[in-house]
Structure formats: C-alpha cells, structure tokens
Amino acid sequence: MERDKPSVGGQPQSFQQLRLDRVSRSFGSSIALAELELTIQAGEFIALLGPSGCGKSTALNCLAGLLPLTGGSIWLDQQRIDQLPPERRGFGMVFQNYALFPHLTVRRNVAFGLVMRGVAKKDIRARVGAALELVQLQAHADKLPGRLSGGQQQRVAIARAIVIEPPLILMDEPLSNLDAKLRLEMRAEIKRIHRDLQRTTIYVTHDQDEALSLADRIVVMNEGRTLQIDAPEELYTRPANLKVARFMGYRNLLPLDIERVKENRVFLAESGIRLEGVAQEPLATGRAIASIRPDDIQVDAPETSQGSVDVGNVLLGQVEIVEYCGRDYLVEVLTSSGLLLHVRTQKRVVAGEKLRLAIPAERVLVFPPE
C-alpha cells in the first residue's frame, strides 16, 4: 500500500506521540473512566485489558470521538483533538459487531472512507483492491456483508478501517464474536497486519491471552481506573497489585500471617504451613497475601516423608479434582494443612493421589491485604 499520501482537510495524518491526559468520562454520577494517563509512541500496539464494565470501551469511544470527555484532554503531538468530531479525527475503528453497512457490497464497504474523502475513482479501485488482498477477500468483493461468515465480516471491517491509512487504528473486542479456532487465526492475522503496516493500534479486550500475545504494552483496567501499564512479560511475572495478579491468572491467593521479613524476602506461616516469598510492597507484621500461579507449582511424588508438617516451600497434599486440558491437567490439591491449591501440571495424576508440591520462593508474590 502506498504511503505518504497528501494530507486531507486538516485531518491528523501521522504523529510521533499520542497523549491521553487525565481522560475521564462519567455518566451522571457513575464514573466510567477515571483520569486515564497514557502516552503512546507511533507504531505501538497497546491493549486495554479488563473485565466488562471496566471502562476500556469507554476509553476507546472517547478516543474515536464517539463519546465526549467529561474531563481531561487528548493530544496528537501538539494538536489537541478531543474537541474534534469523529469524522475529522481520521482514526480507523473496528467495531465489536463489525458495523458493516448491510446495503453495500464488500467492495463498497471498504471504499466508503475513501469516497467520503473524495479520493479519485481510479485510486479507490486500486487501494480497495490492495486492502481486500491484504485480508484475502478478493473473491467476495461483490457480495453483501450478510452473505459472509463472521470471520470474513471481521476481515472486511479490518480492511475498511485500514484502507483509509489512519494514523491510529482502534479495535473494540474485534474477536469476541468468533469461535475459538477462528479467534486464533484472526489474532495471527491482526498481528501480521500490524507487523506489515506498523500502524499504531489500540486494542480493547477482556481476554488476557489476546492482550499478552498481541500487545507491546498492556493497560490493565478495573472499575474505570488504570491498575498497571506494562509490557506483557512484566505484567505476567510482576503484577503491581492483587487485582492485577488475580486478572493475570494468579489463582492461588493465600492469606497468611507474616512471621518475619528479611530484606525483600517474607516468611509467612500459619497452622502447620510455612511459605517463603518475595514482598511486592514493604511489609512488616500482621497479615499478607501470597499469590501463586498454578503453573509455578512443581509436582512430585512424596518420596521423602517430611512428617505431617510442611517445611519451607514444600507442601504435601492430596488430589481432589482433576481437569484434563489437552496439553496438561488443572488439579485441585488439598494440602495436609488444609489449604486448597490450584496446580497446573503435565504429569498425569488421579483423584486421591498424594503429591509433594514445590514452589520456588521467587515465584511467591506477597502483597499486603486489600
């Protein structure tokens, strides 16, 4: 696709930096989005991640201009854009339900943005052709959207958004209406398109796998507030607080008493259990919560008997429930001290089996209680 086309009617064409300055939106007395602070470099792929109702779609609609802000501002380099109507921002948007024009063929759907910009007919034909080729839909160009499958409609929506060569592409849960297999395919497709075109993309999702696999940086949100902004690996291994940890798959959250603290190491204890972990925030005494991901727990057979007391980060337990997940098993283990742990293992286990669980101390993240 051609680049560096002449700028159209004062629309922002390319930029170095997109800055969201305390962007807020409330509906009546309820706050949907509270002071979102985010600076995005050109070419980045940003995911807004959070449960439904966390404000991520609100943030996207504010960026697109479909929802006026109730506070803060949005800057594209030195230009303030939050007062511009959506048609003058020139951002491409992919809607959750695709929002294809049902009365127009695939070709005319994709051409819509170019027609609105008054691009010459010859150029429209060429650029629409190129966009349809990019999403591999040339064969369906003259069909109405209603005749396409969900995945094809999704690709039309993407082609329609990128053909106008927007400086910023906004995607609102674009894969949530697709089945599991198609979702994986389209995820790869979106990744490929981003790699080829290097367009700055903001992607809204509630699926942490999607966010982790696609984004350069992830914004974790909950109840309108930003919890953490970080690269996927950072977020996964080092969640900033319990809420993020819970959302990133730390399923074992164990409230325990602090025994002693040595530098950033914390020793936790409670009736017959002792656990060493890493303090994520300064801790002294009282209660704390140890959070452990199911796949950080190692499973062995109980070859050496340690008596009835769990010592260090070795716990003894009995298998309660086994869920087969194809590649591995998700197991619920009841320890001898009465804790229920979620464990992910490739080792074949059966209910009732006795296990010895080892947890590396650096993978036990200790947070103060909420």
């Binding site: 479909l66 959506p86 339900n97 049902p102 009365h103 209603g146 969900g150 958004a161 106008i164």
Partner: protein, 302 residues
C-alpha cells in the same frame, strides 16, 4: 444452520419442532386453517361479492357500470380529485415525518411528542374535522389571529374547500407516518452511523449514505399506508370540503350511488375502481422499493 434440525423427528411423540420456520409437511401448519377461513370470509368474500355485484347490471352480466363511470366526466373526475388530495397529503406527511422522526429519535422529549401525536389517531376523523371547522373557519382562531396580527386583511377561508380536506388529511395522517418511520429509524443499529463517522462521513453524509438507503423500505411502507388511508377520505371531504365540487372524492361518488340512487351495482363498480387505483399506486411504490436494498438494518450479524 443445518437443514437437518428443521425436520421434525419421527418417533419422538410430543416433540415440537423448535425452529421458527414452518415445515411444508408439518401437520402443525394446519392449525392456521380456522384463521385462514375467517380471513377469507371477512375480506375476500365481500370483495368477490362486490365484484360480482358490479358486473350484474339490468342488462345481465356486463361492464356497463365501468363504461358508464369512465365515460361520464363528472364521475371520472373523482379519481383525479381524490389523487390530487391524497398524493400531496401523503408526500407532505411522509416528507415531514422523516426529518422530524430523525431529529427526535434520541431526543429526551420524544416520548412526550409521541404521546401528543398519538392523540389525533385515537380521536378519529370526524372529531378532527369538527375541531378544524372551529379552528380554521373564517371566524376561527387562526383567521382571527391573522387579522389581529395584520398578517391578513380579510378573513382566511380554509374550510369548505380543498385546503380544509388537505389539512385534515395532514393532521390525521402525519402522526401515523411519524410513528411508523420512528420505529424504522430506531431499528437501525447506531453503530452503523458511528462507523460512517469514523470513516469521515459528516452528519449530512451519514444521513445520505447510511440512514436513507436503510430507510427506503420503511419509507415505501409508510407512503403506501398513508396513501391508502388518504385516498379513502370520506368524512372530512364531506364536513370540511366542498362535496358538491372541488372535493367530490371517489368515496362520495360511491356513497351517492349506493345511498342516494340505491344503485348498489354502480356503487360496487366505483368501489372496485377505487380499490384498483390504490392497488396500482401501492404496486408502483413497492416496485420502486424493490430496486433498493431491503434486508436487515442491523450490522449484518453479531
């Protein structure tokens, strides 16, 4: 979607096909028979009876009544008189209803406006005609207000002529067209104009390229229903118009044949002609609609 799930499985007693579609070999389809008989008895029978009656003249079975109608200028003229009233009134009703429905579709006063507009529909044409007689007559509020404001030098005559009937058709027909179009408009997925906006369409272009094409079926239906309603105008043509001349509509001709001349055969012929004109206009409008997109107005799927 598989066709297999449409087929009622034999051997499973009491299991109803849960699909919305009616199978051709489905005995359940027979349940519509009583309703069908009722419809035939109520609607088709009077029509056929009228058709037969219109063809049975004093000289036996003939088209004499039709020939007489079309060869008499006084009678023939009623078709044009009625069209001249009903077509402009329909155009005004649908033409006004579209922008007003568009502006008020998400307005917070929309419910109030809808309630106010439903009133004329519930009142009926006779009551509207009486009200307009008081309001629009030479001694009515409108005329007196215009005189008082010096906008007019002589009393305004808006009753017992073309305008009286025309205005009553607008008053009774507009709410109908408005409510119909409002329901069509609110059925359009709001994500579609939003998508158009992000692609660079100004509000005007969103209307032209998204709303209007998706509204064509609604406009056609609203036009047809409003037209049929206006074409069969009777009470207001008598009460507010000049039934002897300028507003002698086709229903008056039929009424006179039936209840002044007691010639049911001619009256039936006029009624059949009236139905034919309505049918021609409706078929024309629906034919034009067929040239446009008429599928669902949501975002295709999802």
């Amino acid at each position: 979607m598989t066709n297999a799930s449409n087929v009622a499985k034999p051997g499973r007693a009491g299991a109803l096909p849960y699909r919305g579609t009616v199978n051709r070999h489905d005995p359940i389809a027979l349940l519509v028979t009583p309703a069908l008989i009722l419809i035939v008895a109520l609607f088709l029978c009077p029509f056929l009876f009228g058709l037969v009656l219109s063809l049975s003249t004093h000289e036996g079975a003939s088209f004499a009544n039709y020939v007489k109608f079309f060869s008499t200028a006084f009678q023939r003229q009623t078709i044009w008189t009625t069209l001249w009233l009903s077509l402009p009134a329909t155009l005004i009703n649908v033409g006004l209803a579209l922008p007003i429905a568009f502006v008020t579709r998400r307005h917070r006063f929309q419910r109030t406006l809808t309630t106010v507009l439903v009133v004329p529909i519930t009142l009926g044409t006779v009551l509207i005609a009486e009200g307009l007689l008081l309001y629009l007559g030479p001694q009515g509020w409108l005329s007196r207000s215009l005189l008082w404001l010096h906008l007019s030098t002589s009393p305004v005559h808006l009753t017992h002529n073309y305008w009286g009937v025309f205005l009553s058709l607008v008053v009774s027909g507009f709410p109908f067209a408005y409510l119909l179009l409002l329901s069509y408009l609110t059925g359009i997925d709001p994500a579609l104009p939003q998508a158009a906006a992000t692609l660079g369409a100004s509000p005007r272009k969103q209307f032209i390229h998204v709303y209007l094409p998706l509204l064509i079926p609604g406009l056609a239906i609203a036009f047809c229903l409003s037209f049929v309603q206006a074409f069969s105008v009777f009470p207001s043509a008598v009460l507010l118009g000049a039934p002897a001349g300028p507003t002698r509509v086709i229903s008056i001709a039929a009424y006179q044949a039936a209840f002044e001349d007691y010639d049911y055969s001619t009256a039936s012929a006029i009624a059949i002609i009236m139905a034919s004109v309505q049918l021609i206009v409706v078929v024309l409008v629906l034919g034009v609609r067929g040239l446009f997109y008429r599928g669902p107005t949501g975002g295709a799927k999802g």
